[in-house]
């Protein structure tokens, strides 16, 4: 699915990723944990192509294609999805219009017909029910006035509609209460089909009780310093990141 080789990237001249290596196979769930400032969010932003993040060296292959040859929107259409840590509010643009434009773009790229407005409405309503988001939120401006939990559920709603191949969840658990956390986790788990892969970026072990990862990595100082299975997350929860400092150097 995804191969990241010796990735070096910087923002505003400051190097954040320092030769990161990571391989994600089809159907795998990888958790990435690490201290603040380790480069966790940068990884998601670099993979999706956000302006301001400059790739200095290294390579990323997404389904065999050189990711850096693709524009932001092309990566999305190829099946990459980032659930934002801070979803953006866009007043005046209805959530429905936004979701339809996204899905239209993805389907067109897949050689599928655009859904009719009627079919789309139906699908959007059904999907929003799955993430316990009242259908009224579809008519509001994108994330406009949504609570933190509603914004995150709206991200999962988008993910479920777009059916991406690779989902990157950037601290989706931050600011969520336990109910919302379960809704998000159920959404993710329902999408695990043995083919779709996930990168779950989080500070806390808690989310991984609900979304059980195949692999856990520690990102520190801009590279993966330790990898293991789900037990590693529990160890980190108990011991913190300090004991890994030697491995950063």
């Amino acid at each position: 699915m995804l191969q990241i080789k010796e990735l070096v990237a910087e923002i505003d001249g400051k190097q954040i990723l320092n030769g990161l290596n990571l391989t994600i196979g089809d159907g795998e769930v990888h958790a990435i944990m690490g201290p603040n400032g380790a480069g966790k969010s940068t990884l998601g932003n670099v993979l999706t192509g956000r302006d301001g993040y400059e790739v200095k060296s290294g390579e990323v292959l997404f389904n065999g294609k050189n990711l850096f040859d693709l524009e932001i929107e092309e990566r999305a259409r190829e099946g990459m999805f980032l659930a934002f840590q801070y979803p953006v509010e866009i007043p005046g643009v209805s959530n429905m219009e936004f979701l339809k434009a996204s899905l239209d773009a993805r389907r067109k790229h897949q050689g599928l017909e655009e859904l009719s407005s009627f079919d789309f409405m139906k699908l959007a309503r059904e999907t929003s029910a799955k993430v316990s988001l009242d259908a009224a939120f579809l008519k509001r401006g994108v994330n406009e006035g949504f609570s933190g939990g509603e914004k995150k559920r709206n991200e999962i709603l988008q993910m479920m509609l777009l059916e991406p191949q690779l989902c990157i969840l950037d601290e989706t658990d931050s600011g969520l209460d336990i109910d919302a956390l379960q809704v998000v986790a159920n959404g993710v788990n329902a999408m695990r089909d043995g083919k779709r892969s996930f990168i779950v970026v989080t500070h806390y072990q808690r989310l991984l009780d609900y979304i059980v990862p195949d692999h856990v990595h520690v990102l520190a100082g801009g590279k993966i310093v330790k990898s293991g299975d789900k037990e590693l997350a529990k160890e980190l929860e108990a011991k913190g990141y300090g004991w890994l400092e030697g491995e950063v150097a």
Partner: protein, 437 residues
């Protein structure tokens, strides 16, 4: 000693055009006053505060202009392009009333030229007077010109506690025949105590329209407890020049809801003057302006709070791209007696190119000490984070920009009271932002 005013070439021409027009005898007083006044007002230049950012050169280019032919009729295609509204439609073509294209005039609506005795009394009482109810230093010279050029107009009268049954939809169409011509439009609305009416003024051009100059003046008296909904759309061809003003006097506990939208042109200058004359009056005024290519659009709004306990809520937004220029001047003047005033003015601008220009100036002048006022003006670019968010969902950058621009204006459009007009405009603006119109 003050220097005698030297009229500009346009002023001389305008005065001679006024002499070449004729009007019913009962309009002569207003016309003569306009003539006398217009010739005596110093033609504005760069140093004239009210015209600081807007040059009148496009108007000066009409120093050899004539009146349009009076037999131009709207053709079927032009009429078919108008939205189907559940409203009484009046059509003017190049300033001339087109009876064939208009609905039958309902009770209370008539042309000045068809005024009976009671209508003449109303004209005597209100015509020209509402526009003159301003600080003399701020007298609008184009309102004086409108008086001088007055030949006809539309009078709307709604008696006490009555309601104008259907919205009045006044269409002003400029055609190619109006090239190098001037046109004068006039509307007077009198809502008596407890009356209510909805008005829509729609200015547009045919596709082949060329440079023309339209001067418009709308005066509205909103009586005690009366309710007004007023929408004004300036969607003419970009070769056109339009200088227009809307003057509204609000009496005790009157409620006015105004909406205006202008697309830029060679020159678009629109003045709103609203006077709170009676306690407890409420005003909402929302507007949008859009400029592209080398268009110019200028809104000057003035709200006079002369009495206590009135409210004003004003929101204007603009999107300006290419080499276009927009001017917004929002003045709120709270007089010493106007205690317990609530007034808010917000102006936000989106610049979509490095060569576009916006000059915005909120002006709050407050002489009362117990008021709540807020104002703000911003000029910014499209939100890069929002663009990234849309693109990260597979949306093309061009479409993403369109969606964000549309969203920016749609927040204001959603306040438009008339659903039919709102839908038409939403459609048009979507098309505009993807470059289809």
């Amino acid at each position: 000693m003050t220097q005698p005013v030297q009229p500009s070439d346009f002023q001389k021409r305008a005065l001679s055009l006024a002499q070449q027009s004729s009007a019913p005898a009962f309009l002569q007083t207003v016309r003569q006053q306009g003539l006398d006044e217009f010739g005596q007002i110093q033609w504005p230049g760069r140093k004239t505060e009210m015209w600081k950012y807007t040059t009148l050169r496009p108007v000066e280019a009409f120093a050899n202009a004539g009146w349009p032919a009076d037999d131009v009729a709207a053709d079927g295609e032009q009429l078919a392009s108008l939205p189907e509204l559940d409203a009484t439609r009046l059509v003017f073509v190049d300033g001339i009333f087109d009876g064939a294209a208009s609905d039958e005039l309902p009770d209370g609506v008539r042309l000045f030229s068809q005024a009976d005795e009671s209508a003449r009394l109303l004209l005597d009482r209100y015509l020209g007077k509402i526009a003159k109810d301003v600080d003399p230093a701020r007298r609008n010279l184009f309102a004086a010109l409108n008086d001088a050029w007055l030949t006809d107009g539309v009078l709307v009268y709604v008696p006490k506690n009555a309601t104008l049954e259907k919205p009045l939809y006044v269409v002003h169409l400029s055609t190619a025949q109006a090239a190098d011509r001037v046109a004068n439009q006039r509307l007077l609305v009198v809502l008596e105590q407890g009356a209510s009416a909805e008005l829509i003024e729609h200015y547009l051009s045919t596709k082949d329209a060329k440079a023309s100059f339209v001067n418009t003046l709308t005066e509205i008296h909103v009586g005690d407890n009366a309710r007004l909904s007023h929408t004004r759309l300036n969607l003419e061809h970009e070769a056109s020049s339009h200088v227009g003003a809307v003057h509204i006097n609000l009496q005790r506990s009157a409620v006015a809801n105004g909406f205006t939208l202008a697309e830029g042109g060679e020159l678009k200058r629109l003045d709103y003057q609203i006077n709170h004359c009676g306690e407890g009056a409420e005003l909402t005024l929302n507007g949008l302006y859009l400029g592209r290519n080398e268009q110019h659009v200028d809104y000057h709004t003035t709200i006079e709070h002369r009495v206590p306990n009135c409210t004003s809520q004003e929101v204007f937004r603009g999107i300006v791209g290419d080499k276009a220029k927009a001017v917004f001047n929002g003045r709120i003047h709270i007089h010493e007696d106007a205690q317990k005033t609530l007034a808010e003015l917000n102006n936000r601008n989106l610049l979509t190119s490095n060569t576009a220009e916006v000059d915005t100036k909120p002006e709050l002048e407050i002489y009362a000490d117990d008021v709540r006022c807020a104002h703000g003006a911003t000029i910014s670019q499209l939100d890069e984070t929002a663009l990234y968010y849309l693109q990260s969902r597979g949306i093309e950058p061009l479409q993403a920009r369109m969606m964000l621009s549309y969203g920016f204006v749609n927040e204001v459009l959603e306040t438009l009271p008339h659903e039919g007009i709102r839908t038409v405009l939403q459609q048009r603006l979507r098309q505009r932002f993807v470059g289809e119109v």
